[in-house]
Every structure is written in C-alpha cells, then in structure tokens.
Symmetry: C2
Subunit: 259 residues, 2 copies
C-alpha cells in the first residue's frame, strides 16, 4: 500500500511470517541487531513485550511472529517511524499478527507523566526489549568534543532507558537489550537494583574477531549474579553466509538463550 | 629445602621452568586462574610487573619465566604466604629467574603511606596483575547476610585494588585481572578514568557452558573503549584434558591476547 511512497520498501522477515514498511535507506532499517534482540525473548513467551525505540516495529513484530501468545507495544518517539510502524501493521500480509501489536508514540526518556499521557503506563510490561538509537554508527566520524558529549549521552541514555524499563516492568518481567561492547561499563551498573540474574552474550562477526555487539538479558527484581554465556558467531570462517545458528535466530526458528 | 615442613609441596610450573613452595591444600595453591592471569602479559614484556595478592608468587614468576626481560614485584599481605614466596625464590631450581623477582609484604588496600613504608612506591610498575582473594569459592556456602556483606566487600575490593593499581602505574602501564563474571558490574566502572582500551575475555569450561572466569586487560591513561575478544575454552567436548590453547597458556608457550 505504500509502494508508491518514495524512499520506502516493504520487506519480508522470518521467511515471510511478517512484513515491514521501512525507509529505503538509513540507520532505521531493521537488520541483524533487531532480529537478535527479538530472539532474546523465550520461545512461546505469553506476555506483553514492550519494544523501546521500536522504529518500524521489527523487533516487537519478530517476537509476536515467533511467540503465538505474546502481544507487543511498539514504543517510538519519531512520528515518521511511528507512521512506518502503523503502515506495516495495516499490511494484509500482517493480518495474522497485527491484532497482537499496538503502536505508542512516546519518548522512553520522558518523565513519567509524559509517558503516561502518551499511553505508556507503569507496570504494563512482562518483557522489555531495547535497541537504543545510540547504537547506530553515526558517531564514528565525530570530533573529540562530540565524542566526549556522546559518551555523556551514552551514560545517561542507558540509565534513563533502564529506569523507564524498571518503571514499566511487572514483577519478574524480562529485559533484553542490544548494545556495543563499549557500553557495558554504563549498562551493568544501571541494571543494579532493578534487573538481576543477567546473562551476557557477545556477538562476533567471525570466531576469531572481537565482538561487534553484546546482548544482555535480565529479570526484574531477580537477585542472581551476572553470567557470561557462550558467544554467538555470525559468519563461518569465510564468505558472508550466516552460521546455521545465526540464520535460525534471524528467522524466528530459535531463541538466543535456548529457552 | 622445605620438604620437611608439614603441609608443604614443591611444584613445577611451565614444564619445570620455575617452581613454587606452596601449602599442600587450600585456596592459596596456584592453578589455572593464576597461569591465565600471567598469560595476559604480552610476550617479551620488558618492564616491572607488580603481582597484587601474589600468594606464593605463581603469577609473577610465570611472567618472568616467560618474559626474559621482565622483573616482578610479588605483593602479598599474608606473612605466611610471603614466607612461601621467599622460600620459592631461594630454591636452586629458580636460580635463573630469582634475581628478577622480589617480595614485598604489603596490603594492597592500605593507605598510600602504609604502602610506601612497606616498600611499594607510587609510579613503580609497568604492568599490574591481580587475582584478588575474593575470587576463591569460600562464599558458596555462606548465608544470606554473609552474602550481602560479601557483595559490599566485592564492590570495595575492586575499587580499592584498582585505585592502588592506578597509583602504582607508570604512564601507559598495563593492567590485567582475573575475576568471576559476576564481578564485572564492579570492575568496569572502577576502571573508568584510570585504565582504558580494555579487552575482556571470558573463560568457559567447555564450549557450551557459561564462563567461570573473566580476564580483563587495560592500559593506564588509554582512552579506547572496551572490546570483547573471543573466549577461551578450557576443555574439549569430553574428558578433562585442556584444549591445546589452554595448555599452551598454562605452560608459558603463548600469551592470552596473542601479543
């Protein structure tokens, strides 16, 4: 229905189980990060999954496409991306999942009153997934001053997003986030007193290369300690094909933590 | 020379390149942790390596046995363990390395004046390695109250040990520590503003098991971000033999970060 809109594509995910209307180019397009984040939700998860910074809805829709009893709240502050998400939900191809998804235009970092006015109540989520916009690569070319500012932003970003996640979390709610490894010194302290029993998995482009991403999953109010589980390797030793495990995770055929 | 002392053993390391006098039993005996920590120092490292919490001297001696130009300061607060370290250095078997090692009886967490009085000056080390005593498994059987206390201790322990490491570090000095994964939320923030360009490696007993230890290496005053490098797997899929890489690391035939 939006094929005539410039700069827009309609793309199949999970081998056609759901579709997205997306900008044709740019950092907002869903990719590997989004699919891996969605795969952190356990299989057959039956609750409400809030997708913070949902963009066109890829992660939240990947969860409801894989988990038949899950519902998702796609939380996005950009009116343009909210429009993409709504267009996606209106696609005929998504009729099997659209009634388990809703879109909320809200800023995750807004004060509680603003969030509630936007329709995002406290204590509403059984799982929160987040792929904050700082994860894009736009700071690569920045100057020293901007990098220092970005570092400050990073610290506050994780604190703010995780504070809101804790406010929305129902008892024992899950949390999953995807981030650069460099953000771990900000993320791990911000979990403290909120989400425990954290599991960390690093994502390596190849077996012998440093991680490009980390995914952390934790549980609201849990008291267990951090564990580091075996890493995910995206590609085999040569070529650009995904490993079988990565392919399964990207297509909704497996969950990241094996549950 | 101490073979007649009860409860003592004399053990070969690095296929006989150096020897230790150790208590026959208990958490102070050197093992895999100690050898992996020593392996975090680059090959042929030419400077002074301070070994915090050195015990009988295993990690520091492993460094000087592997790096022909390195010297080590074995820093240990327990008079009993200091005696073991001194006995080890006096062994004929260690004549090739003993002149590059010295023992300092000092508490790493003591105020600067106390450390200096014990002979541990600021700005004296080109590399600091640490395997804090909290890493032993003694808290497994503790009660809730003791566990909470242990958690507080853990927070302060890393902050104190890393503060002292920063005080002793010469410009661009290296740092390596081995810890439980659960300590990462304490360790990573305590590095900030002191040691940068950190590399994190997780140590897994088998390929499909959660990590039992993490090793972090970083550099004083460096500004680079944290990276997560591919993990170390200790054992093959079955049996108790070390993987070839682990065996090399334990025997001084390789360095953990490949440098």
């Amino acid at each position: 229905m939006n094929a005539d809109r410039p700069e827009t594509t309609i793309d199949a995910f999970h081998r056609g189980k759901f579709w997205l209307v997306q900008p044709a180019r740019g950092a907002h397009r869903a990719g590997l990060d989004t699919m891996l984040l969605a795969a952190a939700v356990p299989g057959d998860f039956p609750g409400v999954v809030a997708d913070f910074g949902a963009g066109a809805g890829a992660a939240g829709l990947a969860v409801v496409a894989r988990c038949a009893k899950a519902r998702t709240l796609l939380v996005e502050r950009s009116p343009e991306m909210v429009e993409y998400a709504r267009s996606g939900l209106a696609l005929e191809e998504n009729v099997a999942i659209a009634d388990r998804a809703s879109v909320i235009e809200a800023d995750v970092t807004a004060p509680a009153a603003g969030r509630m006015a936007a329709g995002l109540s406290d204590n509403c989520a059984d799982f929160i997934i987040m792929n904050p916009p700082f994860n894009d690569e736009s700071d690569r070319a920045t100057t020293g001053a901007l990098k220092r500012q970005a570092h400050v932003m990073d610290t506050e970003l994780w604190e703010r997003w995780l504070r809101t996640a804790a406010a929305l979390a129902r008892p024992k709610a899950g949390l999953a986030l995807i981030a650069r490894p460099a953000s771990l010194p900000e993320i791990l302290p911000a979990l403290k007193g909120r989400f425990g029993a954290a599991q960390l998995i690093s994502v390596h482009p190849r077996e012998d290369r440093a991680a490009i991403r980390v995914i952390v999953r934790a549980w609201y109010g849990a008291r267990g300690k951090l564990s580091v589980v075996p890493p995910l390797v995206v590609h085999g030793p040569s070529g650009n094909r995904f490993t079988a495990r990565t392919d399964d995770l990207c297509n909704g055929a497996a969950s990241l933590f094996g549950d």
